[in-house]
């Protein structure tokens, strides 16, 4: 069953170990892949997600030990939100306090309870309590009770000068529909996709442009079932929206094309296949440093320069 929605979100982080600790220990996501940035193999590429790293649960990072902090601006992702069960709000409020994570008091947005908080690099995150999330699958390593654990992405909020052209692409190419409006925000949802099914467009007119750096989202990837579905989306983008994607790049765990949407955000179309079990068994995901075949001869040099994680 082909689904639309968010495939993954990729952001820029500061020191690798701090990033790894926060997402695995504080938020309790599974570390599903330890690899490198294929274009700069001396830089890690971390993937966090659910047990198997299903599309809609994957948050990925390029950690930089000496990163300069980013500055949020228009044409960027403002917030990335996770789904939690309604019964988990109290647990998470307490956990964020206990772990010293900067967060805001719970608020209502589109009828849902939202707790906004920041990761150690200032990346804007949120936990959103969603009715029915308790029956969705979740992964836990035991520290966070499984009934309270994160269930993948709720969605992302894009900060845009104008929303129309972006909304047109999301609806026409990626299968989203407008479902609600609240103040300056238009909510789009991908059919009946629950995990990673929401994109909110926050339209703010003239607002300064940002600067990418630590805590900035680098791109948002949307799902395509396979290469054929991806090619069809790329064709539609070019023919109906005059937007051209890059050539396909093999990312080992999915195959990707990229384009900058009219509002300035870098979008990707990523295939659901082959997934993270392509080069290691599900039981041991994330334990070994995995390299694509062309980089394997450089393994010693790569391992020599990557920061320690433990």
């Amino acid at each position: 069953m082909a689904r639309n929605g968010i495939h993954h979100v990729t952001a820029i982080a500061g020191p690798a170990r701090r990033n790894y600790d926060f997402y695995t220990r504080t938020l309790g996501l599974r570390f599903v892949k330890k690899t490198v940035n294929f274009d700069d193999p001396g830089t890690y590429h971390f993937y966090f997600g659910d047990e198997t790293g299903q599309p809609g649960t994957i948050l990925t990072f390029f950690p930089w030990e000496h990163v300069a902090p980013g500055q949020l601006g228009v044409g960027e992702t403002q917030e990335t939100s996770f789904r939690i069960p309604e019964s988990a709000i109290g647990y998470w409020t307490h956990r964020l306090l206990e772990k010293g994570v900067a967060h805001e008091p719970a608020r209502k947005s589109f009828g849902e309870t939202v707790i906004s908080f920041r990761d150690p690099d200032g990346m804007r995150l949120a936990l959103v309590s969603v009715p029915g999330a308790e029956s969705e699958e979740a992964w836990s390593d035991g520290e966070i009770p499984v009934e309270y654990a994160i269930r993948g992405f709720h969605g992302v909020t894009l900060l845009l000068k104008k929303g129309d052209a972006t909304a047109a692409i999301l609806t026409d190419v990626f299968g989203f529909n407008e479902v609600a409006r609240e103040e300056a925000t238009i909510r789009l949802k991908a059919g009946d996709t629950e995990i990673g099914g929401i994109v909110d467009l926050r339209v703010v007119g003239d607002f300064p442009r940002g600067r990418q750096g630590g805590g900035s989202v680098h791109h948002i990837a949307f799902r395509a079932a396979d290469d054929a579905a991806q090619a069809e989306m790329a064709r539609k983008l070019a023919e109906k929206h005059g937007v051209h994607t890059t050539e396909q790049k093999d990312r080992n765990y999915f195959r990707s094309v990229y384009f900058r949407e009219p509002g300035g955000v870098l979008f990707e179309i990523a295939t659901d296949i082959p997934g993270f079990a392509a080069d290691e068994p599900v039981e041991s995901l994330g334990l070994a440093l995995k390299l694509p075949a062309p980089l394997e001869p450089l393994r010693d040099k790569i391992e020599a320069v990557l920061p320690e994680l433990a």
């Binding site: 700069d40 193999p41 001396g42 830089t43 930089w64 030990e65 000496h66 300069a68 980089l295 450089l298 040099k301 790569i302 020599a304 320069v305 920061p307």
Partner: protein, 213 residues
């Protein structure tokens, strides 16, 4: 805004167009930042701040233009240098360093050069060793086919090469390391999993190396 000290001269009054950032930490060695082909005096400022926080930064713009792209010396082709020009320009740049040291009251700087900037830094080490206290050479090549005998005793040199560098042959940067070692420099060379471009590993290793200075 504090008044500018009277002995500060405008950048235009020295022999190279350049950018200068005063030290914010006492006792850190100043950096001489040397950009690659097509770069300018602003290119390596953020790298300088990253690898040597608190150091004064002196960043000149190369005077040679190749199709409008600033460089520090002429080349005849990719990887083929006009060695006469290398010698002339290395001396010219060493003279500028002396001028700038007087104008800004600086200690002997450590060079941080990328590509063409690393090549001119290597040439300065060999031709005018007194001009530099050491050098971090990123993607450097051997600048002179018959290097002069220089005394670099105790000068620290970091050489970072890229295993996938399509511009610099691996044996060439290895040869440079040998020449500098033979001249008495304290050379550390590392081959990184990188191409010709700078990577995070360059910054991290250079920062660690500077922290030991």
């Amino acid at each position: 805004m504090a008044a500018i000290a009277a002995d500060r001269r405008a950048p235009t009054e020295l022999s190279f167009l350049h950018r200068f950032e005063p030290a914010t930490a006492e006792s850190r060695p100043p950096l001489l930042l040397l950009h690659g082909t097509g770069g300018d005096e602003n290119d390596l400022i953020s790298l300088g701040r990253m690898v040597a926080p608190g150091s004064a930064l002196l960043s000149p713009r190369g005077k040679v233009l190749e199709n409008g792209m600033p460089r520090f010396f002429r080349r005849l082709a990719e990887g083929v240098f006009d060695e006469e020009d290398v010698i002339r320009r290395a001396n010219e740049l060493a003279d500028f360093v002396a001028e700038a040291r007087k104008a800004y009251g600086l200690a002997t700087p450590i060079a941080v050069g990328f590509s063409n900037g690393a090549n001119i830094a290597a040439a300065m080490l060999l031709l005018r060793p007194e001009a530099l206290a050491g050098a971090a050479l990123l993607r450097a090549m051997t600048p002179l086919s018959e290097p002069p005998k220089a005394d670099l005793t105790g000068k620290p040199v970091l050489i970072l090469s890229g295993a996938m560098d399509s511009i610099v042959p691996a044996d060439n940067s290895g040869r440079l390391a040998d020449i500098l070692t033979e001249a008495g420099a304290d050379v550390r060379r590392q081959v990184l999993p990188a191409g010709h471009g700078l990577t995070q590993a360059d910054a991290t290793i250079a920062a660690r190396w500077f922290a030991e200075r």
